[in-house]
Amino acid sequence: MTESRTPLWEVFIRSRNGLAHKHVGSVHAADATLALQAARDVYTRRGEGLSLWVVPSSAITASDPADKDMLFEPTASKIYRHPTFYEVPDEVGNM
């Protein structure tokens, strides 16, 4: 009953360095407004962020852990996809 009245929301925070919103955890809340407040109260107590997203956990479609081998295993043998095989001219400096 508690679950249905206060469903789970996933919380994303954009920290002040201008990066993308990053998943930090979840909260229970009755609706989107209270979820945003709960996220503020639980996850931004130490100046962690400048922007918050909350997303209903039920809106997330997740890959099946059983498909892990099929989905992710084949990339292990394709190390040439990493950009480590190219020589970067000195003039470019740090990338």
Binding site: T6, H28, T33, L34, Q37, A38, D41, V42
Partner: protein
Amino acid sequence: MPTTSISLDEAPLVLHLLRRADDALILGHRLSEWTGHAPTLEEELALANIALDLIGQARLLYAHAGSLTGHDEDQLAYLRDARAWRNLLLVELPNGDFAQTILRLALFSAFMDPCWQATTRSADPTLAAIAAKAEKEVAYHLRHSAEWLIRLGDGTEESRRRAKAALDALWPYTGELFEADEAEREMIAAGIAPDPEALRAAWEATLTDVLARAALERPSDTWMQTGGRSGRHTEHLGYVLADLQYLQRAYPGATW
């Protein structure tokens, strides 16, 4: 630090600062009583965050008052007897249920939000600086309590019954928000404090909006409780102070 109570020369500015500081500390203490008892983890943190905001405001106000009387903030918080406390009766009442806790916070914050905003223009630069910090904090306290009140009033049968009962119980304590005695009027005239009567329209507008969305009826203004500002308190304050002051009274100057 002497264990005996201090007596203060309450010049109008000192009295004004103590009134605001005592409101913040006692309400902060009441909210901190929810720690370990709140309905959900999320709300537990929310109430504790608000309590810490208020206790922080109290510390700044006590430090300012103490700089005028020659006391430190701990002496002002821990070494005054109930009759020397200047807080509103509203903030010393027990928490009651969650609806009563939320409603009290909403009633108080709906007043303090415009009050701190106006105080940012105070002729006292220290008080204006405290107001600039407090104003942002209280704006959130108001939003948080208002959103909850709307959901309680317009929620289940039980939450609605509790919200209505809280409204009937606390409404007679709202008159004190707008009191201004001679000392207070001196502060208003000096441009140090806003005139509470000038804040009434904003308070009314906020509550009219929130109560309408909560489907709750605004109680009519009947007889209003009074006394806190001049030290005539309910029996409840003594118990709060017993908790709050025990350590410093029993072990003067104790630190950790």
